[in-house]
């Protein structure tokens, strides 16, 4: 059970990255390949606020969300908005990720930095396994985020507008949705969410300048397994990637972790090409 908890906690982190990818995808039909780096930036902001400035934990969540939201807004204005072709955005956001990697290294250095968690850093027994307190919290957090998305997208105008945009941007625009402003808002909101979530990620991963690279690819695999645009899919995809990674390492060997993840991805694509939670639609042309 220790390994299952570990896999689910790891999967929760991948799911957080996948959710960030999804928010941008739903609003702009493209991906922000720098999202994992935004999460990494949030972890470093958390380190500074929490470990160096000794600020209260709740305030750190607000500050990390605000700081990463500002960086996401700048990224959008510099690397997304001026680009006309959505396909090129993949390249420019990849460039932004490299820029963020370098900036983080310059500011915080290259050594890993420990980030604490208010509930402590000692392992505890939980339902037949050993976990660090942050691990079940991470799992809970990602479930709450997905439920909150479900609620917001059905009960609030902004959520309904986002859903409308994702289904048919032109129709949404005709109904009065400012799709340009909405896309920008979604991009910034994804950044804010990454910043806030980073406060929970740091205690498990440390603040390290290679974190973005470690999360980017597996976050994308989690997204692909669940289906592009599906929040529950991101949750399940993340959990699947985390569990397969951990269990393959335990029972097959560490060198089999990544191959097994991609075997799973291929299997899902063969059975359900659009991902587990997305139905592909057909229309007569």
């Amino acid at each position: 059970m220790t390994l299952v908890w570990g896999g689910l906690a790891l999967g929760a982190i991948y799911a957080l990255v996948a959710i960030g990818y999804n928010i941008v995808y739903l609003s702009a039909k493209t991906f922000n390949f720098a999202h994992a780096q935004l999460l990494m930036l949030g972890v470093f902001v958390t380190y500074t606020c929490l470990m160096e400035w000794r600020l209260p934990w709740l305030l750190v969540i607000v500050l990390a969300a605000a700081a990463v939201a500002v960086v996401a807004a700048i990224e959008n204005l510099v690397a997304v908005r001026p680009v006309k072709d959505v396909h090129n955005i993949l390249v420019t956001t990849l460039g932004a990720s490299t820029f963020l990697d370098g900036t983080v290294s310059l500011i915080w250095g290259n050594q890993p930095l420990a980030v604490s968690f208010p509930l402590g850093g000692n392992a505890i027994d939980l339902l037949g396994g050993r976990v660090y307190p942050i691990e079940p919290i991470l799992i809970l957090l990602v479930i709450v985020i997905v439920l909150a998305d479900f609620w917001i997208s059905r009960r609030f105008l902004v959520g309904l507008a986002l859903r409308a945009m994702s289904e048919d941007p032109e129709a949404a625009q005709l109904r009065g949705v400012n799709i340009r402003a909405m896309a920008f808002g979604a991009f910034v909101a994804a950044g804010a969410l990454a910043g806030a979530a980073a406060v929970f990620v740091g205690p498990k991963t440390f603040a390290v300048s290679t974190l973005g690279d470690s999360l980017a690819l597996k976050g994308f695999v989690a997204l692909a397994i669940g289906g592009f645009g599906s929040m529950p899919g991101a949750l399940v995809g993340g959990a699947a990637v985390g569990l397969v990674e951990i269990l393959a390492a335990r029972y097959l060997g560490g060198e089999y972790s990544n191959p097994m993840i991609f075997v799973m991805l291929l299997t899902v694509f063969i059975i359900r090409p659009a991902g587990l939670f997305v139905h592909s639609s057909e229309r007569t042309v």
Binding site: T2, L3, G6, A9, L10, I13, M51, D101, G102, S105, G109, N110, Q111, P112, L113, A114, S116, N122, A123, R130, V131, Y132, K204, T205, F206, V208, S209, T210, L211, D213, S214, E245, I246, L247, A249, R250, Y251, G253, G254, E255, S257, N258
Partner: protein, 398 residues
Amino acid sequence: MKRRQLIKAAATFATAATLSTTALISTGFAADDVFRVVVLGGLSAKGILADNSSTSVLAAQAGAEIVNKNGGIGGKKVVVEVLDDQANPTVAVTKLREAINSSSKPDAVLNSGPSTIAEATLPIINQAGILSFNIGPTKTSWDAAKFPLNFDLSPAPANYASGFLDYIKVKGYKSVGIIHGNSAYGEALGTLMEKTVSEGGVTVTAKEGYDYSALDMTPQLDKIKSTNPEALIVDGYGSVVGYVLQGIQKLGWDIPLLGDNSIAATGLISKTPPDGVLGTDAVKNLVMQVFSSTKYDPDATGVNEAVATMKSLGPIKASLILAYNYDALALMAAAAEAAGSTDAKAMAAALETDAVTTAAKTEILKKYNFSKESHAANPSNDSFAFIAPSELKDGQYQ
């Protein structure tokens, strides 16, 4: 107008030439007597590699300063040129080719690692007939038949493994587990460690690898734990060290941890909380294999001079384990003196003799044991020490 610009350019050139000649003469070197050393280092690489490269470069610069104070290499002033290869073999090859084809071809090249850089650049250096020193050993970089002008400064995995075996026997452990990274070095170390330790009569209960991008090592540790070893040999650097320590604590595993020198190069274990884990239960069972020079000793005047010189040139960001390049300069000075020449082949032949490596004022490793057949560092086991983590100050554990 053109004439004016020409006169201006000529005047600038003449001033620069005069100034540089004056500078050389004032240090006791003739203007044309320059020994050019190119240092390849991944200064803008990602992660911990950048700090390691910075220390390697600093060590070369400090070594040059000390050697120049003592008359240079073969009477020539050493000039160090640093090429930032970003720890990327393609960049390293491009920049090295530019340097070799320039008007000031280097007399020596120092590879600051990792081994992928050496793999890509050694054939080029060899073809150009340039003397080289390498801190990222590859499978063949030590082979004098293949690379007659290259000398490995970093001990080979077999040397480290031999040092581990000595320590394991002293401690009386009958069985060990091994966890190592999937880098070329990690794989080689894991394999050689298993072979050396097994041949030494110690049972290896399990050997597990991990991916450097992984964020949790608990599965591998759990698998090794199930085989009940008496001690665990750990290879890893950077955040991986943190994940291994996290995993061991999570499993509630109370086992002696024997870390290799890459663990000693990780800042996390030399800093007290909140920045690191020094002084916590996470490292209470950890000892690390380092060079004797990596532990501060007030009586080690040579090492202390090296550290002071490095410090005067810039901050020492990583452990002194990465400062082999300091020794490269001392080795070249001794080789040139013995050979009576700065010819690469003559210097290489001199370095293969025990008299030269004994005379060389090396400090990071006291003695390199190159031979006609093997250009591996081959230090004796007493070059290594096993120490508990402590504060790292100016590249040395206190």
